[in-house]
């Protein structure tokens, strides 16, 4: 397998991630719906183009722009975007218009912008990039599907610089439905106490996280992407053996892992997956989580990927993401594990380079 390096990052999230610094001024929320901290979109998108863009598209354009700039790349050889729900706001607008107007008077803008691949398309339009452009829509493994595709592109020598990202935005009606069926917590727990809430459901977020991947290491490289695996179904009983097999395939043992980045979202029913490895295989390993900072969304694991990459480069862990407190060491091999409601599991290994 060819080497794959993370050479640039861009992140629009509920934290101040578009500013300099590394989570040194964490924002906590009292609500169960975490909005992103909006960057000044006008600095990145011409007004004429921005007027038809919903928030998700704008976030994606800004995050991708930051990731390319960070890697000193102008135009990539491919753009691969992951999204669980696509451009939700325009989808809701279009469907509402169908109902409200009795299937008449349908306007084109929200329909055109409602497709899942709008973000990747708008990034390409802005860059005038006519290269490979693909969007993966697969719930909580949308972003990881992009990583696998990028690895394959490198292996086939079809690209040397690829922009990869995950984007999801809030949709009011969709969030109302998630609240109704208990996917969003009924009580306002506040983001600070998320993993101790001991109730069903989670807090929901939104965001856009992009990275510039390359088959060549540079002085700016954050880390090396070693491997990615995804599973639509995985039982708690088989989780640890699956992790061992995954690590062995990459010539790594449990002891080689210096840090585990977990997708705990405070849902008492499904966080048991994370508990299994927190108290099992990685009991003596430093563990961190991040969904109290980003909120849960289909591509929230991309925020975990951003966090892991930053930790490897900075060799510092922000205190407020720590689950346990192990003696500080060099963070060389980092394992990321995520799942949503017991389905769509992903394992990713990053390595310092």
């Amino acid at each position: 397998m060819k080497n794959c390096y993370i050479n640039g990052l861009g992140c629009v999230s509920a934290q101040k991630t578009t500013e300099s610094g590394f989570l040194d001024d964490i924002v906590f929320y009292d609500t169960n719906i975490l909005p992103v901290i909006n960057p000044n979109y006008k600095e990145y998108i011409p007004p004429a183009a921005a007027r038809r863009m919903a928030k998700g598209v704008k976030m994606g354009v800004v995050a991708s722009s930051l990731a390319l700039k960070d890697a000193h790349v102008e135009v990539p050889d491919a753009i691969i975007t992951g999204t669980g729900m696509g451009c939700l706001q325009d989808s809701e607008k279009f469907v509402s218009a169908i109902i409200d107007n009795d299937e008449e008077f349908l306007t084109p803008t929200s329909f055109i912008q409602s497709t899942h691949n709008t973000v990747g398309a708008q990034i390409a339009l802005g860059l005038q990039c006519k290269a490979y452009n693909f969007t993966y829509v697969h719930s909580a493994i949308s972003f990881e599907s992009c990583l696998i595709d990028a690895q394959m592109k490198f292996n086939e020598d079809e690209a040397s610089t690829i922009l990869v990202g995950g984007v999801d935005e809030h949709g009011k009606h969709t969030n109302d439905l998630h609240r109704l069926i208990g996917h969003i917590k009924k009580e306002e727990v506040g983001s600070a106490d998320l993993i101790h809430s001991n109730t069903d459901g989670s807090i929901f977020g939104e965001g856009a996280i992009f990275c510039t991947l390359s088959d060549e290491k540079t002085e700016h490289s954050y880390a090396k992407l070693v491997d990615v695996e995804i599973y639509s179904q995985l039982s708690e009983e088989n989780l640890e053996s699956r992790i061992k097999t995954f690590l062995e395939a990459n010539k790594l043992s449990i002891d080689d892992i210096d840090l585990v980045v977990l997708g705990n979202n405070g849902d008492v029913t499904f966080d048991s997956y994370y508990k299994t490895i927190e108290e099992g295989l990685f009991k003596k390993t430093q563990q961190v989580y991040y969904k109290h900072l980003s909120g849960e969304f289909n591509t929230a694991s991309a925020f975990g990927f951003w966090l892991a990459s930053k930790i490897i480069k900075e060799q510092e862990i922000p205190t407020l993401v720590k689950i346990n407190d192990q003696p500080k060491k060099t963070y060389k091999n980092v394992l990321l594990y995520n799942q949503y409601r017991g389905e769509n599991h992903s394992l990713v290994v990053l390595q310092s380079c």
Binding site: R51, R52, F105, L106, T109
Partner: protein
């Protein structure tokens, strides 16, 4: 007629998401497409739907739209003469 012109300007700004444009910036006779507000073909479709939905005017010939949407003043005159609601 003045009231209708103001109403049209408000609708154009709202429905076409012209966030940076104020009512005062749209002159009654300013061209809406090309050099003026810089609207495009997707905006033209939005305006056709608006005429149908809000004023009961169905444009069947797209060439008609080119003339009607020249400016707010021309739109207002056309709507006044043809509106059904």
């Amino acid at each position: 007629m003045e009231g209708l012109k103001l109403e049209l300007k408000e609708k154009i700004i709202e429905q076409l998401n012209l966030e940076d444009v104020s009512i005062e910036e749209i002159g009654d006779d300013d061209p809406l497409f090309g050099d003026g507000l810089g609207l495009d073909s997707i905006d033209a479709l939005e305006l056709i739907v608006m005429l149908d939905k809000d004023y009961g005017i169905k444009l069947t010939d797209p060439k008609e739209g080119k003339k009607i949407f020249e400016s707010v003043a021309i739109m207002a005159t056309y709507i006044t003469a043809n509106r059904t609601k």
